[in-house]
């Protein structure tokens, strides 16, 4: 008799984080149901980068894929973290806004179309400054319009994380899925150290960074919905669940008085302990996979 072979989990695991943005977006869809829109061969590039000696990318670092997820119509829009830090420029921002608007149009016409936003981004692309910032405002608006009809699902997987104005997009989403490696916040540690000093935030303290911005903390304190292992199959499964659940009865950002009261109850005389905050704010339904 042969002894059974024990195969460690990690052998079969397919890392989601190691995939580039295009592969991540593609991996979410039902096989054979997807196509890319305004892709590289359309060459809609940034009109602003070459003037500054920066090589543009053929898709401006934003990938739009339309198809079916769990049998339902969906569109995925992914920022490529390796191009200009995933930052939002005029074109990449417009791709996300336009895709959200088309999903809303379809949804209003009776074909609810969910949107999955893969946010690896440091925020606004400084080389396009005001057009990047305007694009973020427009994305926020379009996400809010779609979420009335179909779920807006944000994935923050790492390694770039989701910072800057795009963190507000995560905030207004119907569901936010994170990995442990991922981070979500308005200002990254370096920016805080730069603006408010090293005592306010030591950006070399990795433990502190993940204690505040990390996926486990955000899910634990109820500001994100699911914590997923770094595995493409698990990620797809988590997204399918959200598509199936549909539009939540009430979105988190509509619960103003609940959160206003929580902020009022904070003791600001010293720094806030993340673990304590997690206990105080824990959502009993926060899902860990």
């Amino acid at each position: 008799m042969n002894a059974p072979t024990i195969i460690p989990d990690f052998v079969n695991r397919r890392s989601f984080i190691e995939l580039d943005a295009r592969a991540r977006a593609q991996s979410l869809f039902d096989e054979g149901t997807w196509k890319e829109l305004a892709g590289p061969f359309d060459r809609i590039e940034s009109p602003w980068l070459a003037k500054q000696g920066i090589t543009p990318q053929s898709d401006d670092g934003c990938i739009v894929i339309k198809g079916k997820i769990g049998g339902s119509p969906a569109v995925a829009i992914a920022f490529e973290g390796a191009f200009q830090g995933g930052s939002v420029g005029e074109v990449s921002g417009a791709k996300m806004t336009a895709a959200l608007d088309l999903a809303t149009k379809d949804s209003r016409a009776g074909r609810p179309t969910a949107a999955v936003l893969l946010l690896e981004t440091g925020g606004v692309r400084l080389q396009e400054a005001n057009l990047g910032l305007a694009a973020v405002a427009e994305i926020i608006s379009s996400a809010l319009a779609l979420r009335q009809h179909a779920p807006v699902i944000t994935i923050v997987a790492g390694t770039v994380g989701c910072f800057g104005g795009m963190s507000l997009v995560a905030g207004v989403s119907s569901y936010t899925i994170m990995t442990r490696e991922a981070r979500l916040g308005l200002n990254g540690p370096e920016v805080i150290e730069q603006e408010s000093g090293i005592d306010e935030f030591d950006s070399s303290d990795r433990t502190l960074i993940w204690a505040i911005h990390g996926g486990e903390q955000r899910v634990g304190m109820g500001l994100a919905d699911s914590l997923v292992e770094d595995d493409a199959g698990e990620m797809t499964s988590a997204v399918c669940d959200c598509v199936r659940k549909g539009v939540p009865e009430k979105h988190r950002t509509e619960q103003v008085e609940l959160y206003r009261a929580r902020i009022a109850a904070l003791d600001t005389s010293s720094q806030i302990d993340p673990a304590t905050l997690r206990q105080q704010w824990a959502d009993p339904q926060g899902g860990v996979r």
């Binding site: 590289p40 060459r43 070459a50 000696g53 090589t55 543009p56 990318q57 053929s58 390796a82």
Partner: protein, 98 residues
């Protein structure tokens, strides 16, 4: 910023597929490879690293010494090494020859 163009009129084999590989990260590049509408092959390079025209020429001479497809190649480069360039081109060829 430099824009560089090369022509390889001897590369005449009919190609029907297209391929896109790579990301324009620091030290990296992307390749868009597709059938050329006219005869021969044409290469269009946009690079943020100036002064390497000869190196690019050498890389493409080498590439087209083995590949004879009538293709249009667009490259967006942010400082890839010649070795990486060849690798990306080979990846693209793999996709279209599948």
């Amino acid at each position: 910023m430099e824009k560089i163009e090369f022509n390889y009129p001897e590369a005449k084999r009919l190609i029907t597929k297209r391929a896109h590989v790579g990301v324009v990260g620091s030290g990296d590049m992307e390749v868009l490879l597709e059938p050329n509408s006219g005869e021969g092959a044409r290469v269009f390079i946009t690079t943020s690293v100036n002064g390497f025209g000869d190196a690019w020429k050498a890389v493409f001479n080498r590439f087209f010494s083995k590949f004879d497809g009538a293709v249009r190649i667009h490259i967006n480069d942010a400082g890839a090494t010649p070795g990486s360039v060849l690798l990306r081109l080979e990846q693209a060829v793999e996709v279209i020859e599948q």
